[in-house]
């Protein structure tokens, strides 16, 4: 078995571009899914009854579907249903955002629900409005519990962006597998891909651990 690792260095520009796309997808998805998640969580908790059911249905549906299927579905079905042809990147982003928004909605809902009701009741008894109680009492405490969960969702999302490679979004996994197919350097390219994800993902995972220690809530 002869190995030729120079193939990795030769394709450094493509790999760097793929890495950039991976980060871009992660950042853009979170930029949509955090406000989206807040909106869905608020709808589910305080919305009118039909809206609540709709929000709950959306969350349950996307939490119970494999992301890769959502990606395929978005790729093949959305253009036919809407008549709008999106680029692969936009389709991948849409699928990721739909998925992560559902998870974030649950994170926000759980965070807000974790604050004992007595605290809101006490705030109301002191004469605060519901909005004030939420803003001054619930949100500051809930944030401490929400942030570490959002951080670990971030790491999962960073890894899950690899799934949009199946619809030819040129992120890190797709680029690596393309180079593999062109050069037949299977072991080298796949190992390089794993190593790159490891180098990028490991510090993020460690950062999440640190955040979880830092924000630990003791009851």
């Amino acid at each position: 078995m002869t190995l030729d690792w120079s193939v990795v260095w030769e394709h450094r520009e493509a790999l760097a571009a793929g890495t950039a796309t991976t980060f871009l997808l992660t950042i853009a998805t979170m930029a949509i899914a955090v406000p989206g998640g807040i909106a869905v969580a608020l709808l589910r908790m305080y919305g009118a009854v039909p809206l609540r059911a709709l929000a709950a249905g959306y969350v349950e549906l996307f939490r119970n579907l494999p992301l890769i299927l959502v990606v395929y579905w978005a790729f093949y079905v959305v253009p036919i249903l809407t008549g709008v042809g999106l680029s692969a990147l936009a389709t991948g982003l849409a699928a990721l955002a739909l998925n992560v928004t559902a998870y974030n909605a649950e994170t926000f809902r759980a965070g807000i629900n974790s604050i004992r009701r007595g605290q809101v009741e006490a705030a109301l008894a002191l004469g605060m409005s519901r909005g004030q109680a939420l803003r001054r009492i619930v949100v500051p405490q809930a944030l401490r519990r929400i942030l570490p969960v959002l951080a670990s969702t971030w790491v999962s999302l960073f890894k899950d962006t690899s799934l949009v490679s199946v619809i030819a979004v040129t992120e890190l996994a797709y680029v690596s597998m393309q180079v593999r197919a062109q050069t037949f350097r299977v072991l080298e390219m796949l190992t390089a891909m794993a190593a790159l994800y490891w180098l990028l993902g490991y510090p993020q995972a460690k950062l999440v651990d640190w955040m979880q220690r830092r924000f630990r809530v003791t009851e």
């Binding site: 494999p66 249903l81 993902g201 490991y202």
Partner: protein, 221 residues
Amino acid sequence: MEFDFRVVADSWRFLAYGVGVTLLLSVVSGVASLAAGFGVASLRLYGPAWVRWPVVLYIDSMRAIPVLVVLVWTFFALPIVSGITMSPFTAALVGLTIHLAAYAAEIVRAGIESVRPGQARAALALGMSRAQVLRRIVLPQAIVRMLPAFGSLLSITIKDTAIASVIAVPELMRQSETVAGQSFQPIEVFTVAMALYFTMLFPVTRGVDAVYRRVAHLGRS
């Protein structure tokens, strides 16, 4: 626009086979990662110091690398390194287990560490051996507390088996792709696939919650 679900009815055997493979792969890799997870966690908690750091490195690495990458590497690259050729199903089983065992190990560790150390000290003071403490005091409480996390791990396992479609395991995702490609009716096929996955996954999450509510009192201390 017209929908024609006959394509799904015509190829129902093909899709049902996919459901079968998905369930089989989920159950086998779920059980394997659970067993491996207990092993890895006990190495991390009770192993000698020189074993602990490679174990921590393994766990954290699996948290950093996507499943897709692990599966593709196991199927395409591992045979080159090891000389062992694996069927797609075996490769998926190995890859998923390597990946998920790390998560299972973290669940086991968190469960065991959640039992207050005072209890173990009290048991030791009463003259129990370390193994007895673990078996009689720590594990009965810890396992109950691990249940909800194992439930979500099982649902993650089922979802991750869909990624095995990229290494041509004939599970539901792959079979749906094939039918969609041959019939040119992706809407019908993928929508049915969604319904099938939802029907498999929803009862798992709900079922584990229901079981946990019944046994939760056993984990209190």
